[in-house]
Symmetry: C2
Subunit: 190 residues, 2 copies
C-alpha cells in the first residue's frame, strides 16, 4: 500500500489491488488460527437459520487479506499507525472474489524523516458491490530518510518488493464471475 | 463478547477475556493465510535493522484473535457492525501473551428486535501494557426477539456456547510472564 516515499504520495492517487477468491479453506483456517468459532462462520446449520442462509466470511479475515493484495515497499513502510471507520455494508460469502479500491486521502509529515499517509479502502466483490470499507493510516519514511539509510548501508536496496506497481493490472481488467460461463455450459454442446 | 441479550447490557459492564500467547507459528501462519509477507513480520534480517530489532506480530492478527478470547452467545449475536479507532500504542512481539479489557461503552436499540452494543477494547500484554485499542460495535438480538425465535423453533437452545461466562477467571488471576522463573533457573540447584 505504501509503495513510494510518503512525501511523494499525492492526494487522490490510487493504489492497484490484486483480487482473491475467499475459499472455504480460508474461512476454516481463520477459525483455527484465531480461535474464534462463532457459529455464523463455522456452523452451516446455524447459518441456514439466519437471513444470510449460509456461513459468512469473517470481516476480520477480509480486513486481514487486503494488505496481501497490494504491493508494499519495505524501505518506505515503518508500521500500521491506525485503522478507522471500518464498516461491513454487505456480507462476503465463501467463493466470493474480493479486490480493493484504495485512494490516498491525506498525507501529513510528522518530522524530517517520517510522515503518515491515510488510505481510504473500499473492498469490492465480483459484482463490484462494496462489502467493506475502512481507513488505514501508515507510518512511512520520507525520500530523504530512505536515501540516508541507503547511503550508510543500514537499508538494503533489495528490500524492495517486486514486481513494480505499474506492471499490475488495474481492477477493471479483472474478469467478473458473472462474465464466466456457468458450470457445465459447454458440456451440452458436446 | 455479546453473551446476553443486547438490551440487558449495562454501560460500564465488563466482559471477561482469556489470555493467549502469540507464537511464531501464529505469525507465520497468518502470513500464509493473508498473503501479506511484509518483511517486518517475516524477515528477521530486515526486522533487526528496525528500531524494534525483531519481527513484529501483525496488528491485524492481534485484532483477529480478540474475538477468540471472549465468550459469545450465538443466540444473541447477529453480526459485527463496525470497528473504529484502532490504535497500536506498543508493539507485540513473538512470545508475548495478550488478553483484553472489554467494557460496554454504549447500547442503542435499533428496532423491536435488535440493538447495537459498542465495546471499548484494550489489548494488554503480560506487563499490563496497552498494545492495541479499538471500539467494536456488535449488532445483537433483544431478549424478546430471542424468546420468540426459541418459541417458534427457529433458534436452537444448544447454540449457546459453553462455558458460562461467570466461570472464567478474571484477567487479574492470570500469572504474568515476569512472575515465572527464568528458563534454567531450577537447574543450577540440582
Amino acid at each position: 500500500m505504501l509503495h513510494k516515499p510518503v512525501d511523494e504520495l499525492a492526494i487522490g492517487e490510487t493504489v492497484p489491488s490484486r483480487g482473491r477468491t475467499v475459499t472455504e479453506t480460508d474461512v476454516v483456517s481463520f477459525c483455527y488460527l484465531t480461535g474464534n468459532w462463532l457459529e455464523i462462520h463455522s456452523n452451516e446449520q446455524v447459518a441456514l437459520r439466519t437471513p444470510y442462509g449460509r456461513r459468512l466470511v469473517q470481516g476480520s479475515l477480509v480486513f486481514s487479506i487486503i494488505p496481501g493484495l497490494v504491493t508494499w515497499d519495505a524501505r518506505y513502510t515503518i508500521a500500521m499507525y491506525a485503522v478507522d471507520d471500518m464498516r461491513f455494508p454487505r456480507p462476503v460469502f465463501i467463493g466470493d472474489t474480493i479486490t480493493a479500491q484504495i485512494a490516498v486521502e491525506d498525507v501529513q509529515m510528522r518530522d524530517e524523516d517520517t510522515g503518515i499517509a491515510t488510505f481510504a479502502v473500499k473492498v469490492l466483490n465480483q459484482r463490484s458491490e462494496v462489502v467493506q470499507t475502512f481507513r488505514m493510516r501508515i507510518l512511512g519514511r520520507r525520500a530523504q530518510a530512505v536515501a540516508a539509510l541507503l547511503a550508510d548501508g543500514s537499508l538494503n536496496p533489495g528490500d524492495e518488493l517486486p514486481p513494480p506497481i505499474d506492471a499490475q493490472p488495474p481492477i477493471d481488467a479483472q474478469p467478473t464471475i458473472d462474465a464466466q460461463p456457468p458450470i457445465g455450459a459447454g458440456l451440452q454442446d458436446a
